[in-house]
């Protein structure tokens, strides 16, 4: 499967999906005009890949500074997908990377973590720029 690398724009995050290494990342701000058009294709491919894994190690970095409600719904879907992948015998690590001064993003990470049963959810403070 071909890796996906989409540069960040004003409204959409950087997408860095390395299917060979099973290392995935979303970075930046997320409030695309059309959430479905932006996330639909990349999540479709991710779902396909994750569904095929057995006993693999998966890492997903979320390094977001802002996202809107539609993007939040996408994220929750992603977390479910990753949790299911972990439930199927894969070692999944989610890194929730946030600005140390952004209490909002920290709390969001903690809330998302509450629902997940099988993944290892790691809260990480972003290195100061």
């Amino acid at each position: 499967m071909e890796n996906i690398k989409i540069e960040a724009s004003d409204r959409s995050p950087e997408v860095d999906f390395d299917f060979d290494k099973n290392v995935y990342a979303l970075r930046g701000e997320s409030y695309p005009e059309d959430v479905t058009a932006f996330f639909g294709p990349v999540i479709g491919k991710l779902e396909e890949r994750l569904g095929s894994l057995k006993g693999a190690e998966v890492q997903f970095d979320f390094e977001l500074v802002y996202f809107n409600s539609s993007s939040a719904k996408v994220l929750m879907g992603l977390f479910d997908m990753l949790d299911e992948t972990a439930a199927e015998g894969n070692a999944v690590v989610i890194n929730w990377i946030y600005d140390e001064e952004d209490d909002n993003m920290e709390e969001l990470g903690e809330e998302f973590a509450e629902d997940l049963e099988n993944v290892q959810f790691v809260m990480k403070k972003m290195a100061p720029s």
């Binding site: 409600s69 939040a72 719904k73 969001l108």
Partner: protein, 346 residues
Amino acid sequence: MAFEIFHKEEAAIEEAKSVLGSGEITDPKAAKHYGTLLKAYEKLFKSTKRLVRLSDRNEAELNKVAHSLDEKNHLLEGLSTKLSKYLSPQIYASIFSGEREVALETKRKKLTIFFSDIKNFTATTDDLEPEDITFLINDYLTEMSAIALKHGATIDKFIGDAVVIFFGDPETKGVQEDALACVGMAIEMQRHMMDLRAKWTEMGYSRPFQMRVGINTGYCNVGNFGSEERMDYTIIGGEVNLAARLEGVADPDGITMSYETYALVKDYVDAEKGEPITVKGIHRKINPYKLIGIFKNVDEKSRYFRSENDGMKLFLDFGKLDEDTRPNAIDQMEAAIERLRGEETK
């Protein structure tokens, strides 16, 4: 019980759980579907709660940003208001409206230039304390600036007690109108100086200022001069020097114009031709025109009436004497006149 926005949804979930747990649904297939549906509903409910919270947080964050932007705008507004005091209002307006580029650009335009200073400023202020000089010069420049702005002038700069003003840029009403506005302004300034002198004398300043004015009309380079880091919106050229030179030959309380200005305003004011002068950088002989009748009929319009002789000092401020205080002033003056007449017949 505290108000809960999701009270109904929570109650529905509890009820569904209790139905599922009670064994009311006897068909195992139906119970399984019911359980799946309940789980999906619970998840959806959780997502909804989370999204509502996220939306509220984002809104709060947005409000915080908007508030901080308001504060910054307010701060910038305050700063720009303060900075505006260092610029002529027209220049400030044209820069802030985006009409004018802040760049080292100049153009050639026909302007009417006004140049004034205080006669013997140094000697006049020699025995004054710095605080008094500051008060006098600020009072003088404040009053003159107000008149200049009223006439639509561009105040170029203050150089100590000297004032450089021009008409014709950035706004112009035409060369003749600009010249008329400049001369009209100069007349009003000289007339107002009478009031100021009366005020200053009353305040105890024994040698109040006398202003001299030179006016010239001609082509100048106008625009931003200096460096990219520090520039001045000003005028340069031989015609500017000529205005300064005309000021130098003007009488105290007088206004002297070049022929170029006089030619534009001669239908409206009277002037007498003075001795020709030479000005460095200008090859032609310059004929100065001294404006006459500056103070014609001025007494009726002046705010102050002041007269001082040995044994008599009279000062009236018509700005303060209103219909309540005027009759008393009249009574006192009539009493004074009566006594003066009585003394005469003794």
